[in-house]
């Protein structure tokens, strides 16, 4: 005996073009939906990755200290304040801390820069912890320092370009006339690291007589830790300021959530269009088969049987469309990501669209739900057909 599913399937095949166009329409909607859900997921995860790549989520500096190069330059190299190195142990004693790296920035007035002199900043970093924390830094030439107290320098790409230095060259530190050997040139990163001259922290402390002093500590916080609570703890330390990238990330995510609302609106419009399309297709099919449905009922089909028949047809269309949409989304996610990146040039690095099992299932369930909802009215109309009226309409 032929099943109701086979009848539904065969009915759809009778109008192949219309069924195909409906499946394509649903497929496109499902593609948009899956891609938008994937974008929401991917953007946040790419942003998280970018922030993780910065090496540390929390920067601890002495209170009032200009903690990044741009501010330091704007202040004319003045205003650097120092913390004692002993604070490192205090910070490390917190269970939330995964890794830390101490830093010492020193600015030197160079009278031979510009008409009336300028500032050159040197960042002392710990060779044991800094490279591991900033593992995303890649070298154009050379490598990190050979020893913790070596008279060596690693230059960000633009610092190297300004100083016209390559590995093996000597770099003169003005004012104190100290010579350091360039052992590494970093590739461009698009961050302030590009303009930074890195030296081993012990070397900076010795050269500038700042033994035991630090200007900053980069802190990588444990993934499971409550950063806000940890920051509160850090504020208990005397004379420090806390610069938290977690807070910055939250602000950016809040801004992104506005975009998400727009994205969701687009998804809802796509779903509505798909729903109307499905209703239209199935309703047309019901009207065309008016007399046929009447005959089915006259030979014993119950209203529920007819309802199920039409509803299943709708469901099959939506399942096929959903499948097509998911295949499109999976196959074209890279291309879609490239297109989005063109529209959003400051988007985070990495994959902007992440399609996981959860998104695939959500999309399929949504499309099935569309099928179930949009099939109700046509199925109800079909179930209400009166056999005699249907046959009479054929005679007419």
């Amino acid at each position: 005996m032929i099943s109701i599913y086979t009848v539904s399937y065969k009915n759809l095949l009778r109008k192949k073009t219309r069924s195909l166009l409906t499946v394509v329409g649903i497929g496109l909607s499902a593609w948009v939906l899956a891609s938008l859900l994937g974008f929401n997921e991917g953007y946040e995860s790419a942003l998280n990755k970018d922030i993780d790549n910065m090496g540390f989520q929390v920067l601890l500096t002495a209170k009032g200290c200009p903690y990044e190069a741009a501010t330091l330059m704007l202040k004319g190299g003045t205003g650097l304040r120092y913390m004692k190195e002993s604070i490192v142990d205090q910070v490390l004693s917190n269970e939330e801390v995964e890794k830390i790296t101490p830093m010492l920035m020193h600015a030197v007035f160079d009278p031979n820069k510009g008409e009336s002199g300028g500032i050159t900043a040197y960042l002392g970093v710990d060779p044991a912890t800094f490279p591991a924390m900033k593992s995303f830094l890649e070298f154009k030439q050379g490598k990190w320092f050979s020893e913790p107290e070596a008279m060596e320098a690693v230059l960000g790409y633009e610092a190297a370009e300004l100083e016209q230095r390559e590995v093996g060259d000597i770099l003169l530190i003005p004012n104190i006339n100290a010579e350091v050997k360039v052992v590494g040139i970093l590739k461009r990163t698009g961050t302030q690291d590009d303009g930074t001259i890195f030296l081993p922290i012990r070397t900076v402390q010795r050269l500038f007589e700042k033994t035991g002093d630090l200007t900053g500590i980069g802190i990588k916080v444990d993934k499971n830790a409550d950063i806000a609570q940890f920051e509160e703890k850090l504020y208990q330390l005397p004379d420090v300021q806390v610069v938290s990238l977690a807070q910055v990330k939250q602000t950016i995510l809040n801004l992104v959530s506005t975009a998400k609302v727009m994205v969701a609106s687009i998804a809802i419009v796509a779903i509505l269009i798909a729903t109307v399309g499905v209703i239209n297709t199935v309703l047309m099919s019901v009207f065309e088969r008016f007399q046929e449905i009447g005959i089915l009922k006259s030979i014993g089909a119950m209203p529920l049987d007819v309802f199920k028949l039409i509803w299943i047809e709708t469901l099959v269309l939506c399942l096929l469309g959903g499948g097509v949409g998911i295949v499109l989304a999976l196959g074209l996610s890279q291309t879609t990501g490239i297109l989005i990146r063109r529209l959003l040039p400051y988007a985070p690095t990495g994959s902007l669209i992440t399609l996981n099992t959860e998104i695939v299932i959500t999309t399929l369930l949504t499309v099935v739900l569309i099928g179930l909802v949009s099939g109700i009215y046509p199925a109800w109309r079909a179930a209400r057909v009166r056999p005699l009226e249907a046959i009479r309409s054929e005679v007419a």
């Binding site: 741009a70 031979n112 030439q141 003169l172 003005p174 010579e179 807070q247 910055v248």
Partner: protein, 208 residues
């Protein structure tokens, strides 16, 4: 609270994507409004344009510049795509000269040599915007810079950048190195001057 968030976001953008203040692409005047007026007395304004060997003539132009310089371009940073900033100096609407700078590798760091030229390509002023050298004070002295005034590309054409020699009796051979120990940086200055004049010749004075 909102202000704090905005400020933090600004800092984040600084950390993530803005070029550092230490960065220098090509060779620009640090403060063009002030520098042009100072370097070119009598000027009332300036126009800025940009040129690169890559865009002006590509590989053939690079080969020509290298041939005239007497040495191939070297290293990581002396490349075909370096953008050069040319300041066209005005008095009213009249062009009274040009200012142009180049980066040059010195013994201990980068050197930026700016030349002020009249419309015929004669040097009116010589300026080290940046000079990392143990002899920086002497090389940046007005006395050293004055030796270049009145010279042009014609005078530098016979200067050999490899040997650092100029034909005896030529104006370039008369340029004195104030610190004999800084011979490398002295030669670097002359090379930068010759390169600067060649680039101005092919970009502005006698473009192809």
């Amino acid at each position: 609270m909102i202000l704090r968030h905005v400020l933090m976001s600004f800092l984040f953008l600084l950390l993530l994507g803005v070029e550092s203040v230490l960065a220098a692409v090509g060779c620009d005047l640090n403060d063009p409004d002030r520098d042009v007026a100072r370097l070119f007395p009598g000027s009332t304004g300036y126009r800025t344009s940009y040129a690169s060997i890559d865009k002006k003539g590509g590989e053939p132009l690079l080969r020509e510049v290298e041939k005239r310089l007497g040495e191939p371009f070297q290293g990581l940073f002396e490349t075909i795509d370096v953008p050069y900033t040319i300041y066209e100096v005005l008095n009213g609407t009249q062009v009274i000269g040009y200012i142009h700078g180049v980066n040059q590798k010195g013994q201990y760091g980068g050197i930026q040599v700016f030349l002020c030229l009249d419309p015929d390509g004669i040097i009116r002023n010589f300026y080290f915007q940046k000079l990392t050298s143990k002899a920086a004070k002497e090389l940046r002295s007005p006395e050293f810079g004055k030796q270049f005034i009145g010279l042009s590309l014609k005078d530098f054409e016979a200067y050999d950048v490899l040997s650092g020699k100029a034909p005896a009796g030529s104006p370039v051979s008369a340029i004195q190195n104030p610190v004999p120990e800084a011979e490398t940086d002295f030669r670097a200055s002359l090379r930068a001057t010759k390169k600067n004049l060649i680039l101005m010749d092919v970009f502005v004075l006698r473009p192809h």
